[in-house]
């Protein structure tokens, strides 16, 4: 995918979450990782890319199409994509199966039968078939996140946006979910994710963007950024997080 971001700005009161981002990424990029310190603007940029927030200024183009600005068209934009949050965000009153079927039926206009079949397929692929009829509260964090990922993938999204998908999980579950995301990357799914998993970003992302203070500090291929960081900020950050 190609991404073109110009003068992108989003402030919350006095907080400059995204503070004038310019970024151009070329076509071969399939998986883009956003890294950097907490509060650096990763989540906000991801939400702007996914059309969950509207920028105060600037524009985003993905594959030449500008992310729309009005609520009506933004909804269409969101439907094309899949979004996964750090804190699972499944609907607690619905079973795992219903969590996946409901959007297919009500948002994408599928028939119930087809939606059920698709949901079962995706869930089977993610190794969660035994848990279809359970409610989220009966599932572990890792299982919830896999169901949430299945929900985000069920309609074959043009772009999958993952906001720190493993930050709320313990190490074993982290690995399970990362394996799954890695599989999606291998399968050619286009993904933009924010993450603190440096190993994963390095191994799976085609391009990495380092955000700090709402600005792009550095961007490039995973190898460039991890092996030959240019800026002092990135060097210090990597030095700290790679130490342990």
């Amino acid at each position: 995918m190609s991404i073109e971001i110009q003068g992108l700005t989003k402030h919350y009161g006095a907080t400059r979450a995204v503070d004038g981002i310019d970024l151009v990424l070329d076509d071969p990029v399939k998986v883009l990782a956003l890294i950097g310190p907490s509060g650096g603007g990763k989540s906000t940029l991801l939400r702007l890319l996914g059309g969950l927030e509207r920028p105060d200024a600037g524009s985003i183009r993905i594959d030449g199409t500008e992310v729309p600005h009005d609520e009506e068209t933004l909804r269409v934009w969101r439907r094309r994509n899949g979004f996964l949050f750090q804190s699972f965000n499944l609907f607690p009153h619905l079973t795992a199966l219903e969590n996946i079927v409901l959007p297919l039926v009500e948002v994408h206009g599928w028939k119930r039968g087809e939606a059920g079949e698709r949901a079962r397929d995706v869930v089977a692929r993610f190794g969660m078939s035994a848990h279809l009829e359970k409610h989220p509260a009966q599932l572990s964090g890792g299982q919830q996140q896999r169901i949430a990922l299945a929900r985000a993938m069920a309609h074959e999204p043009a772009l999958l946006l993952l906001d720190e998908p493993t930050s709320a999980l313990d190490p074993e579950m982290k690995a399970e979910v990362l394996d799954l995301i890695e599989e999606l990357c291998q399968g050619g799914q286009r993904i933009i994710l924010s993450t603190h998993e440096m190993g994963f970003a390095r191994g799976s992302a085609d391009a990495v963007v380092f955000l700090g203070g709402g600005k792009v500090v550095e961007s490039g291929s995973a190898t460039d950024l991890f092996d030959h960081p240019q800026s002092a900020t990135v060097k210090t950050f990597l030095g700290k997080v790679m130490k342990w």
Partner: protein, 245 residues
């Protein structure tokens, strides 16, 4: 340790009070034969209360839902109007509302069906309380649910219908059951516009026979028979719609 002490203290106080009250009430010298001729009046009064309560329950839920919708609509004028209505109704005595509502307002539009007017007035009153219960329920649904529902591409209406309201319903059940009980007991205030409901009949029986306790005691049984099943039903529904395990 302090938990044991506290719960023992509460248990002892409750038990002694209960035993004492029951003993005092049970050992009173009653003359049930005095009110016997009025038993049909009392029963028909009870039926009137049941009818008024049922109708007002349905209507007050509808009014409460509309007031809530107005308040969360995001439009300033309806939101403010609903807010003012709720504050005014909750902040003034029902008794006065019934008097003004029947003798001035209903009279002005030429409506003199006491029971009909009574049901509307009670519902208008109780609806204000329901709207606060419903609004609290909607607002208790975490922001993250809205976020993921929006990310999926639901419209605002769909978010309410599929995500927020189904979760809020369970949360408002206990408070709603309490409000239903209030509504049933509040219906006794319709005596001021001479609706022949349960309490009104008990008053008349008491006045005619001078057997005050004998006339009023049946109210305990009559109202409890109505409020207790609601409480049981609410608990049953809460269990049935429980999804946190």
């Amino acid at each position: 340790m302090w938990k044991v002490a506290l719960s023992t203290f509460v248990s002892v106080v409750l038990l002694t009070t209960f035993v004492f009250v029951v003993w005092v009430v049970a050992t009173h010298d009653y003359h049930w034969e005095a009110i016997a001729p009025y038993r049909n009046n009392l029963f028909s009064g009870w039926l009137t209360t049941v009818g008024i309560s049922l109708a007002a329950m349905i209507l007050s839920i509808a009014i409460g839902a509309l007031l809530t919708a107005g308040q969360v609509s995001g439009h300033r004028i309806p939101a403010t109007l609903c807010r003012v209505y709720v504050e005014f109704i909750r902040g003034t005595p029902l008794l006065t509302q019934i008097l003004i509502g029947y003798y001035l307002v209903a009279d002005a539009i030429g409506w003199d069906d006491r029971i009909g007017v009574g049901i509307v007035l009670l519902s208008g009153f109780s609806g204000a309380y329901f709207s606060e219960i419903f609004r609290g329920g909607l607002e208790s649904i975490p922001h993250s649910q809205w976020l993921s529902a929006r990310a999926i591409g639901f419209t605002e209406g769909q978010i309410y219908r599929f995500v927020v309201v189904p979760q809020a319903v369970r949360r408002v059940l206990p408070a709603s059951a309490g409000q239903f009980a209030n509504l049933i007991k509040d219906s006794s205030l319709l005596f001021v516009i001479s609706v022949n409901e349960f309490t009104m009949q008990a008053r008349e029986t008491g006045t005619n026979t001078y057997a005050t306790f004998e006339a009023y005691l049946p109210l305990i049984l009559g109202y409890f028979l109505l409020t207790f099943p609601i409480s049981l039903l609410s608990r049953h529904l809460e269990r049935r719609y429980r999804y946190e395990h």
